[in-house]
Point group: C2
């Protein structure tokens, strides 16, 4: 059920084959919509307008077809995470652009994104390695590098784990993507259908947490703090 090897080549034939390509497109659609077990090979064949035997001719088994679908989806997701850096921008701008791009890609490729997220969710402790290496490593590493650069340039606090901020950035866009259907039904939430605005607000909130803008005596972890901290109370409205 889980992808063991996301890196290998084609299973039965090259994807250049037009027949196999059609099957693959249909399969991406179905697996994304309904998951592995709920998708039948008969339905793949039916929707592709070919015989079931033909599907097995191109892809040795259902699992092989699924692996190919995962590879395709992962390629997409890797692109979503990987975004060319513009060194003319500040680090803050780069991260903001990253978030915009990431969420935009997630929403545009809704079904494929769901497929990959489901794969992450269902990954076993051992199986997560493949996904980590093949899909997310490059994008995540790049993100960490951006943060690290921000620290070296003094834009970001130096007493902060770069990987933590990177993780939080991804979690923000990914969880927004995941929870949108539920989020829409919460009365206090008005940004469920405004991803652009959401990203901007989230960036604002996030950056003012990692920028060196706070009072310097405030570096201790919050859990250990005795009370409300000495803080110049501004006008509460």
């Amino acid at each position: 059920m889980q992808a063991r090897d996301v890196s290998g080549g084609p299973v039965a034939c090259g994807c250049a084959n037009p027949g196999a390509q059609l099957i693959l497109e249909v399969a991406v659609e179905l697996f994304s919509e309904k998951g592995y077990n709920a998708t039948s090979m008969s339905e793949v064949a039916r929707r592709a307008g070919i015989s079931k035997a033909n599907v097995f001719h191109h892809f040795g088994s259902k699992h092989d077809l699924y692996l190919e679908v995962i590879r395709e989806a992962c390629r997409d997701s890797r692109e979503a995470l990987h975004q060319g850096r513009d060194s003319g921008q500040t680090v803050v701008q780069q991260l903001s652009a990253f978030l915009h791009h990431h969420l935009d890609t997630l929403l545009r490729r809704d079904r494929v994104s769901r497929l990959v997220v489901r794969e992450v969710l269902d990954s076993t402790p051992e199986g997560g390695k493949e996904l980590a290496e093949q899909v997310f490593f490059d994008g995540f590493t790049e993100l960490v590098e951006i943060v690290r650069e921000g620290q070296q340039q003094g834009e970001f606090r130096s007493d902060m784990d770069p990987a933590l901020l990177a993780h939080m950035i991804i979690s923000i866009s990914l969880f927004y993507f995941q929870s949108r259907n539920v989020l829409r039904h919460f009365p206090p939430v008005d940004f469920a259908d405004e991803p652009q605005r959401f990203v901007e607000m989230a960036c604002d909130l996030l950056f003012h947490g990692c920028l060196k803008a706070g009072d310097p005596d405030n570096k201790a972890a919050v859990g250990n703090r005795p009370a409300c901290r000495t803080m110049s109370k501004e006008t509460p409205e």
Copy 2:
């Protein structure tokens, strides 16, 4: 496949029945592990040590059994989100405690949590309503209230959407929970198996973003900002 009604009473019998209770426990386990389609009624019966017909005797259909499982899981999740507020604590402490409690519950009830998360992920635009109302509404509303209180008391910035911070808090613990198996394989990440430390670091990062500690001219959204802002550069190491 999706839960349509999470609120109704028992389907075929009261849960007081010991036979039905055993079936339910086994079903929670299996549905959580393998999802709806990959779980067969035969396996439920086998693992419960009873006949398949007996399962259908207690729960009218597979879908009915699944609904009951979802109800049980949602009850758990609601408890995970809902945590008694200690009014003797500062708002910052309350939110920190909330995050600790939430993530701890997610990790402790790993399988059930996965089940609910999967349900959220697979929820249709219409179907998300039930989940929102029956499972997450109370907890989310409470979280928003805490944030709002923090704003009124001057601990938090007032130019911030309370629902946004609430959403980000949940996204942090939930995405950590989801991505741990993948996260473990990223070299720059060293907190994949230290949830306590992760929460503390995340709180630190998050709160210094929403506390009124930054320079006051920094309220504009980051996306619109022209350049790197005027910022007193501290010693970069």
